[in-house]
């Protein structure tokens, strides 16, 4: 019996009607009626303004919205582009909405977008979030141009961040990926990315680990798989990323479980690549990045510290199974410091992360529990980071982050050694 396709007849029929295209823009949605119209308008204006001669299609996989999101997407046409631009579209603009089972999560939506890109022979495929408030038509150009015209396979975003924004990315994801994979990619879980047609086809074919990377993990997987697969990687400056997101409702614990867990799984998947990788290279960055010192995000540092020190105390027995005795002792020692003297040094933090990664690989305890045990330690690191850099300018903060990244790089042999050893 023939295997059942994950593409519905209606979706395939719509794609057939669209025919061959140059650009696919994927916009997965679920109950985003409030924001999606503006996002769709920005995409359409961007396509007309920057790619008026290219054939393009907006693919909107929807997980079963009940608030009229797909209707809003279809209705979000611009009656007169001349009010916005000095041009009218040369070509018919296509917007294809299709329902998918939300049970499988966002990776299913991405799979549909990749399938569309593959079937329609797209040269470039961009992915956009439906809850963006800060998107402009220029984002389309920034993402698509390197893939469409400059021969890059993966285009990651660079956002304009407020100070202390994205600390998990800056303290864990970015430096660990940089040290392991050897690419200085700013936003490894960037949700606005672009792929070349051939990379989209590759991702479509390699869906064997789909279920291992829920939510944002899918984007981490794409980023690391592109690097490990030898594809040409670059990044493009987009601007500030402001969303109306339900993700903010996800607590830190779940976030760390998702993204750190996905990252460790990526390390497992690509171990033959990153263990052998020696060098670390800059990633070409397109776009003009203004130097703006934006107001810092407000974080309750004291509460962070309190949760860290009580967490270390309460989870000692668990941490003993994950960390080496020396590292654990050092953590216990810093947890005992006064809050104002508290410092979670770069080397200790980097070592902690490396040991967590290795322990995750060896499944010393249940993996979910292992990731949850990382949360209080991360809180400690955040508290220390804010205390150290509270009054520092953006240049100083950048220097400190650079030294953290170099610490990770220095510890790569340590990571490899722990990764390859037998279980204690």
């Amino acid at each position: 019996m023939a295997e059942e396709s994950f593409l519905s007849d209606e979706f395939v029929s719509q794609l057939t009607a669209v025919g061959e295209v140059d650009i696919v823009v994927g916009l997965p949605t679920f109950n985003n009626r409030d924001t999606v119209q503006r996002v769709v308008n920005a995409i359409l204006v961007g396509l007309v303004k920057y790619y008026p001669r290219q054939r393009s299609v907006l693919i909107n996989p929807d997980a079963g919205s009940k608030d009229g999101t797909t209707e809003a997407v279809q209705a979000a046409s611009i009656p007169d582009f001349r009010a916005v631009l000095a041009a009218s579209p040369l070509r018919t603009m296509h917007v294809v909405s299709a329902r998918y089972s939300g049970v499988q999560g966002e990776s299913e939506a991405l799979r549909m977008v990749f399938a569309a890109a593959d079937l329609l022979g797209a040269k470039a495929c961009a992915l956009i979030s439906p809850d963006l408030e800060s998107i402009t038509p220029e984002w389309i150009d920034a993402l698509v141009q390197p893939a469409l015209k400059d021969g890059f396979d993966f285009v990651g975003p660079v956002y304009q961040r407020r100070r202390f924004d994205g600390l998990l990315v800056k303290n864990l994801l970015h430096p660990l990926i940089r040290a392991a994979y050897g690419y200085q990619i700013e936003e490894p879980v960037g949700r606005e990315v672009a792929l070349s047609g051939r990379l989209a086809s590759y991702f479509l074919g390699d869906q064997s680990h789909r279920e291992d990377f829920p939510g944002l993990g899918a984007f981490e997987w794409m980023t690391t798989a592109a690097m490990a697969g030898g594809y040409r990687v670059c990044q493009a400056f987009l601007g500030p990323r402001v969303t109306v997101s339900r993700r903010s409702a996800l607590d830190l614990n779940t976030t760390i479980t998702d993204v750190a867990g996905s990252l460790f799984r990526c390390l497992e998947l690509h171990q033959s690549y990153w263990i052998a990788r020696q060098k670390c290279e800059q990633v070409p960055t397109f776009g003009f990045q203004p130097v703006l010192d934006l107001d810092p995000v407000r974080i309750d540092r004291k509460r962070m510290f309190q949760m860290f020190s009580s967490g270390v105390d309460q989870l000692r027995a668990v941490l003993e199974q994950i960390l080496s005795p020396g590292t654990l002792e050092a953590i216990i020692a810093v947890a005992k410091l006064e809050e104002r003297q508290f410092r979670f040094p770069d080397d200790l933090w980097a070592k902690t992360v490396c040991e967590f990664a290795a322990s995750y690989h060896h499944s010393v305890i249940n993996r979910d529990h292992l990731l949850q045990a990382l949360t209080p330690l991360y809180r400690g690191r955040v508290s220390s980071f804010i205390l150290e850099n509270g009054r520092a300018g953006s240049d100083d903060v950048e220097r400190k982050l650079e030294s953290l990244r170099q610490e990770y790089e220095r510890l790569k042999p340590y990571l490899i050694e722990n990764w390859n050893r037998n279980v204690r």
Partner: protein
């Protein structure tokens, strides 16, 4: 196999049969210049007797009307549009007697003849201008538009921007400026002067009395000027037209007026008035969009312009065309669209002229037979009376190096022999050199060779025109657009009473599937009009068709 041509059916009566005053709605018009068609006296220039010799060919082609480009006496600095005598024939093309003979022979073959009425301006060699400039007191002074300064009518656009710097020219004789919207040697007539209108009417009567069936009025929008306006499409211009039309209707009800007004459809609409101005007007903006649609492989440009096209009075008709004696004008498109057209069709800057492209149809289509068929198929099936430019029926090429728009006005290619069968003169004497390159040269592209085969472009064009004439839904029917999801397919239904024709065009270079919503025609049987084969009956489900690259279908919808 040689295709034998049927002998012309010369009617016993010389008058054109039928008294239908709306005959122009069913017309298939063939535009040609007597100079370019056939030379009878071996001087290297085509003439009316030569044209008469080729009327059988024109009749066999299937067209119903000949549109003659200006043949009046002229210094020929604008290919005859600079007229120096309105009621005579340029001696190079023949005499008035020759012209009368042409009319008679054409009418015998059921062919009508329309001529040019270039009334916006004359040549500066015209006696009227010579008199007008001789002194400020001359009675004809006021027949033209004069000014002591070139400040008047500021901001009015220059049409021939590649050659002219101003709409005013200095006359050294009468020491004043005169107004010209075209070349500086073509001063504009002053239609605020009733004497000018009366004189023009006399000219019209002259040719109408001779038997001409219609007038194509050149450069209509620019007849009247007013300060503080664009000097185009002014209400006063419409008044002039109404006057001429009224007089024409009273005396010559079968003669029709065709407007050349290169404007947006909404602006051209005014030239139909309430059925009391022009009976026909060219739909300029449609033409470049047909070319754009085929390159983009997207029906959007055509759909947009046709949906913007307003309804016109019942007695009126659009004139639609692909190419003509001028450049492929890109005035009525946006900057983005113009850039696209230049990049796609005129990458060689030598092909560009005056916001247009000076190439013929076949080179624009890269000599692609399928695209030529598709474009002609749309020309013959969209609403309006189609105008075919001489030579396009055999796929003639062009020569952009001949200067101005001469590259598309080269001699007709009749055969592969001496001077392409156009003239017995020495080749150096021809009014313009023949095309001789291996792709489009007369040895390869000519009537004689194409007559011999059933599958030639010429044979196909004959068949196309014949099929078009088999249904009045094309010429007089309404249009309803279908909008299948496949944007590469342009489909519509032409309806006149119970006569319904479904037209489906594939604008893409690759084969395409399309599902058409034909529920309104459930139970009908589509009969393909070229082969006569019935297709599956239409049901409730979307009607699936597959089309070859650049393929099209015409289906007559039969209910049995």
């Amino acid at each position: 196999m040689r295709t034998t041509s049927s002998s012309p059916n010369i009617a016993s009566e010389s008058a054109v049969p039928g008294a239908d005053p709306l005959w122009y709605k069913d017309a298939v018009i063939y535009e040609l210049h007597a100079r370019a068609f056939h030379d009878s006296n071996g001087d290297g220039i085509g003439d009316f007797p030569g044209l008469v010799q080729k009327l059988d060919y024109v009749q066999e082609l299937g067209v119903t009307t000949i549109w003659l480009l200006p043949f009046y006496p002229s210094p020929l600095r604008d290919d005859g549009y600079d007229i120096s005598d309105y009621t005579a024939i340029n001696p190079a093309y023949g005499t008035l007697e020759n012209f009368r003979e042409l009319l008679e022979q054409a009418h015998r073959r059921n062919l009508r003849v329309i001529t040019e009425l270039v009334i916006n301006h004359t040549s500066d060699q015209h006696p009227w201008f010579q008199e007008a400039r001789s002194s400020r007191d001359n009675p004809r002074r006021d027949w033209y538009v004069w000014s002591d300064t070139d400040d008047r009518y500021r901001g009015v656009r220059i049409i021939f921007k590649d050659t002219e710097l101003s709409n005013w020219a200095w006359d050294p004789i009468s020491k004043a400026y005169y107004w010209h919207r075209f070349f500086s040697h073509q001063p504009d007539l002053n239609f605020d002067n009733p004497a000018v209108i009366d004189e023009i009417w006399k000219v019209m009567q002259f040719w109408a009395d001779m038997g001409v069936d219609g007038f194509r009025v050149d450069a209509v929008p620019y007849l009247v000027e007013r300060e503080g306006t664009s000097c185009e499409n002014l209400p006063e211009t419409h008044e002039v037209v109404k006057v001429l039309r009224r007089r024409l209707n009273e005396k010559y009800p079968m003669i029709f007026l065709l407007a050349e007004a290169n404007q947006w459809p909404a602006d051209v609409r005014h030239y139909f008035g309430d059925g009391d101005e022009f009976q026909m007007a060219f739909h300029f903006p449609l033409m470049p969009r047909m070319f754009m649609a085929v390159k983009l492989e997207d029906r959007k440009p055509i759909m947009d312009i046709l949906q913007q096209t307003p309804d016109i009075p019942e007695t009126c008709q659009w004139g639609i065309f692909l190419r003509n004696h001028d450049e492929l004008t890109l005035e009525m498109v946006s900057d983005e669209e113009r850039d696209y057209m230049y990049d796609m069709y005129a990458f060689d800057a030598g092909a560009r002229l005056n916001l247009g492209i000076r190439r013929r149809l076949a080179p624009l289509m890269d000599g692609d037979r399928r695209r030529l068929e598709l474009m002609n198929g749309m020309l013959m099936s969209l609403p309006g009376s189609p105008v075919l430019y001489y030579g396009d029926e055999i796929g003639m090429g062009d020569n952009i190096f001949l200067g101005d728009r001469n590259g598309v006005r080269t001699p007709m290619q009749w055969s592969g022999g001496w001077n392409a069968g156009f003239s017995a003169a020495d080749p150096e004497r021809l009014y313009l050199p023949l095309l001789s390159n291996p792709v489009y040269g007369y040895q390869t592209v000519n009537v004689e060779a194409q007559r011999r085969t059933d599958h030639s472009l010429l044979s196909w064009m004959r068949k196309l025109i014949q099929v078009r004439k088999s249904s009045r839904a094309f010429s007089r029917g309404g249009i309803e657009f279908l909008q299948p999801r496949n944007h590469r397919v342009f489909a519509y239904i032409r309806t006149l009473g119970t006569d319904r024709v479904l037209v489906v065009n594939n604008l893409s270079r690759s084969a395409q599937p399309v599902e058409l919503d034909l529920r309104a025609f459930e139970g009908y049987i589509p009969v393909e009009m070229f082969g006569g084969n019935p297709f599956p009956r239409i049901g409730r489900l979307p009607y699936l068709l597959t089309l070859a690259p650049y393929g099209f279908y015409w289906f007559r919808m039969r209910r049995l």
